[in-house]
């Protein structure tokens, strides 16, 4: 079983009721209600291999959570087929759900009023995990996520970051070969994020766990995923290597100069003659940015000419960040001029 997830022409339509305004409208709504069909996911197809870590990204409302709910069998698709771990998520429910782990960053799966370890004990019984397996696996998980001291506290007394680490541990209690994470790092501080990322990398290497991850924090994706699937209004607009996305879009570099005295665009522009480059003023005083193509001789030439002509106090070279690339794509809704 090489393909862990196979999705073909998957579609989900929601019937959405709209309310008429006012009291009169409310009475009319009693007898016949207006509704419109919203297609949250429109005929998407993709496959994921075992051991892959895939970033599933897109704007708010793009349909990410809806797809995950169909992949985990919570929602019934309107159309199309889903095969996960070789099973149809809607048939063989109990066997299927034992083979996946899910974390919804937005809602807790632990029992609110009881200590974390009691929740773990219940899940251990629910997933039928033997004592030896539990010991061997969870001791390590609890250690790496550093949640040992939290185990005897009720969930409602934990902070968001503490809770999220416990949620992750709970989702992995039965050591599933496939993990769905819907915004697992939402609202977490940098250190906790780092801990979670390292942990995910580690289990991916150790057990070849396949991970499908949605997040709005692109640094998560950069740190973890080689492959991204980008969704826009229910359609896949990019499916491929994150690196390719960068090389298609992020060709240029930005050289930021901090000048010792005031300069004007008229003074600077002549320096760029015959070069593929352009100046933009920065918000900061006496700082100008040269946008250039990513070629050695252009970069050296620009720096050489500027330094020769003016006194400068600082130079920085930036690559265009993934965030900027993604922002551009979201704004235009296409990648590289074509819709995938």
């Amino acid at each position: 079983m090489d393909q862990v997830i196979q999705v073909k022409d998957l579609r989900k339509d929601f019937k959405s009721h709209s309310s008429r305004p006012g009291l009169k409208g409310a009475f009319r709504d009693l007898f016949n209600r207006n509704y419109s069909i919203i297609s949250a996911v429109k005929d998407i197809s993709f496959e994921v291999k075992q051991g892959e870590m895939v970033g599933y990204i897109g704007e708010n409302g793009a349909g990410k959570s809806t797809s995950i709910k169909m992949l985990t069998g919570i929602l019934t698709p309107t159309d199309g087929t889903v095969t996960v771990n070789g099973m149809n998520p809607h048939k063989e429910r109990e066997k299927f759900v034992s083979s996946i782990g899910v974390v919804f960053g937005q809602r807790s799966q632990l029992w609110w009023d009881i200590a974390v370890q009691e929740s773990f004990k219940l899940l251990k019984k629910v997933y039928n995990v033997s004592d030896e397996d539990y010991e061997a696996h969870m001791t390590h998980v609890i250690d790496s996520l550093d949640i040992g001291p939290l185990l005897d506290k009720p969930v409602r007394k934990l902070s968001l970051g503490q809770r999220m680490r416990c949620e992750l541990a709970a989702a992995l209690l039965h050591n599933p070969p496939l993990l769905f994470l819907d915004e697992p790092t939402i609202g977490l501080d940098v250190l906790v994020k780092l801990k979670i990322r390292n942990f995910l990398k580690e289990i991916n290497e150790k057990y070849k766990t396949t991970i499908l991850l949605t997040t709005h924090d692109l640094t998560d994706i950069e740190a973890l995923c080689e492959r991204v699937i980008m969704l826009d209004e229910g359609q896949i607009i990019y499916d491929g290597k994150l690196a390719n996305l960068r090389s298609n879009w992020g060709e240029g570099k930005q050289i930021e100069f901090q000048f010792a005295e005031e300069v004007t665009k008229d003074e600077l522009s002549p320096l760029m003659k015959e070069l593929d480059a352009e100046w933009t003023a920065s918000e900061r005083k006496n700082v100008w940015v040269a946008n250039v193509v990513n070629e050695e001789h252009v970069i050296s030439e620009v720096i050489g000419r500027v330094v020769a002509a003016h006194r400068i106090t600082d130079v920085k070279i930036h690559e265009i960040s993934t965030e900027e690339i993604i922002r551009n794509i979201y704004e235009e809704g296409v990648v590289d001029g074509k819709i995938y």
Partner: protein, 263 residues
């Protein structure tokens, strides 16, 4: 099976986490029993018996009806409705267990907790204050125990049914409240069914509600003859079976058209 039993234990822990509810519960139940005791004493006046029940039997009926209620009563309809509204069912659907069975187990955990820590001590206290007649016959106690297990089953099934309706109506607070009133009235908690007009009694024969409170309380007070006891238990058993059907049907339809809110 182990997972369902573990759930009962978890529910115990949850009940312990909210001990204050438990103390206020004792107070409310005592007030209810006391109020009905004085009400019925006034109604009886110096009449020996009404509808075949003596005043002592009546007091016993009221006391045991409330104590049994502590066992069969649960709020799982409200919990299910809330979990549906908040989108928490999503989590329940990714667990390898049957959601409704798990809910039933939670109800059972709650029931056993209250039976042990509330009904039994409560009954002892009540019997010290009010004249209550405990049956000497072992068979009465056995029948009573079987009967309150059925009470729990039937009441829980009705709760599951009301809870699952949330999938279809979304906001069914009204339905849940109506159900509560109907059960308090028609189950025989406030008034034995034999006190109702004859036509109402025959309607009640075709409804499951008297299986919840009237039957176990009548058994406990020795208000039934041996034959009537067997008929009553059969009545409970048949309803427990019948109610499985609408629950299963609704559940299957609900799963198919489940919409999870938010996320």
């Amino acid at each position: 099976m182990a997972k369902y039993i573990e759930m009962i234990r978890i529910r115990f822990l949850m009940m312990l986490a909210y001990r204050t509810n438990y103390y206020s519960g004792i107070l409310i139940y005592s007030i209810n029993i006391g109020a009905y005791y004085f009400l019925w004493s006034a109604i009886y006046g110096d009449k020996g018996e009404i509808e075949g029940l003596s005043v002592i039997q009546m007091t016993t009926y009221i006391a045991v009806a409330w104590m049994a209620r502590a066992f069969y009563f649960n709020n799982i309809d409200r919990e299910i409705a809330q979990e549906i509204k908040e989108g928490k069912v999503a989590v329940e659907f990714i667990r390898p267990y049957h959601y409704l069975t798990m809910k039933t187990m939670q109800g059972l955990g709650e029931g056993i907790f209250r039976l042990g820590f509330f009904s039994v001590p409560g009954m002892i206290i009540v019997s010290l204050i009010f004249p209550i007649n405990f049956s000497a016959a072992l068979s009465t106690w056995l029948f009573f125990m079987v009967s309150i297990i059925f009470s729990f089953i039937v009441n829980t099934q009705i709760n599951l049914l009301t809870g699952v309706m949330t999938f279809f109506f979304f906001n069914n607070d009204g339905l849940i409240r109506a159900k509560r009133v109907v059960i308090d009235l028609f189950s025989g908690l406030l008034l034995p069914i034999s006190f109702y007009p004859v036509w109402a009694q025959s309607v009640m024969d075709f409804l499951p509600f008297k299986a919840i409170s009237y039957i176990p309380s009548m058994i406990f007070t020795d208000g039934f003859s041996r034959n009537e006891v067997w008929d009553a238990l059969l009545f409970q058993f048949v309803w427990a079976l019948i109610l499985i059907i609408p629950i299963q049907v609704l559940w299957i339809i609900a799963k198919r058209q489940l919409i999870v809110q938010g996320g």
